[in-house]
Subunit: 240 residues, 2 copies
Amino acid sequence: MTRPATKSLPLAETRDQRDTKERILDAGEALFMEHGFEATSLRQITAAAGVNLAAVNYHFGSKEELFQAVLTRRLDPMNAERVLLLEHYERETAGQMLSCERILNAMFIPALRLARDNQRGGKNFLRLLGRAYADPAPFIRHFLSEQYAPMIARFKSAFSRALPHLPKKELVWRLHFLMGAMSYTLAGTDALKLIAELNPTETGNDELLLRRLAPFLVAGLQAPLPDLQESRSEGERARA
Amino acid sequence: MTRPATKSLPLAETRDQRDTKERILDAGEALFMEHGFEATSLRQITAAAGVNLAAVNYHFGSKEELFQAVLTRRLDPMNAERVLLLEHYERETAGQMLSCERILNAMFIPALRLARDNQRGGKNFLRLLGRAYADPAPFIRHFLSEQYAPMIARFKSAFSRALPHLPKKELVWRLHFLMGAMSYTLAGTDALKLIAELNPTETGNDELLLRRLAPFLVAGLQAPLPDLQESRSEGERARA
DNA sequence: GCCTGTTTTAAACGTATGTTTGAATCATAT
DNA sequence: ATATGATTCAAACATACGTTTAAAACAGGC
């Protein structure tokens, strides 16, 4: 009733349609990153894209579906590339065990390639992703969970083989910490102005960033198991 | 002209004033965390607080100043507590070097105490903080930088003494990674549903969380120095 | 019991919100 | 050339936005 479910002419997408949809996606990507989902208006987006206000509802159905389309456009290929790269590494080192470093590289390299490709989202998209991670809106959380689930499962089993002594439960927690450091770093929001003191020529050099983050995370993954026995914590004991 | 700069009767803050201001702060804290700064309206806040719409502008001046007041109310005491605890540890181990574990504890324990105090913000506030970290609005970034600067500087020099072999530049990066993992974990947004598979009785046990996160971060801080010499990266070589 | 300064209130300012609608425009296949 | 389905468009829906204003209600000191 409201909009055609799918295009009925699959032969050649008329150019104007692709242009309109892509311009909406581009404008949405930039504005959602700047203002967040809720505070970005369709009027801002359609004005920036140079299209009619009704075009979003016509082409995407709703503001929520547009937001999901904005994320899917970059996230789907990036996560697919991650899994492909991981499988490439696994074939490369045929029977042998894959090192944590290489598994981490399979996560990072596709993200870095995306960050460098300024024509297609680039850093802006990674910042948008960082915002989406922190948004408690249920539809965003459900969407991200489903979008990431297959890739996370794949990497979890890879890390599980690389760290055979690490209990499953402990691994899940460490992946949680890892994703935190990674998304925070890739989003590059620099909330605490830590980077301000660094050499400005070095800021924005994603290459060196990966080379610094990887050893940090590998060491974290390989850290000795925590001592969970004692019932009272330092926090409770150290009441000054 | 618009509002009185400060109260001119310092003897006994009339109860109604404190009630109104605090109810606005409470409502703002909850709503800012749910919808973000921009998408939260003063009408939502004042309705939830049961006060008149104009009360925000009267007591705080503007929506932005209210937001800063919401953050300051919890952040100021928490960061002060962190520094005090660090100094307490330093006195305790008088001349000797402070271990990374204890420095980390000085960062974590005040945050955990805040997370547990549900009557006064609790977890909700830490989630709001996680959202604020990811918000690129300039006034939020400036505010957070200035709010954290003294505490970060204090801990940076403490870590610097605990890790004497680590170059300053490297330490700043590792603090960046550390803050990422920490804020992501404390915000507990669980963007990727990693925790869903964990024992539900364990979810929400902040005590064990600290015991798991600390070894991860300590190992990361003490990781071997990265090899930054090679000019071509794995990312460029591994083009499959 | 007026007087003074603080706080609350209702109303109004101009502007913006997501979505729907029905008619106009376009491209193409017959 | 005409019919057809996809796309665009301007207008309208009821509702919400942050801030300002001037009057009302309240407090405590004298």
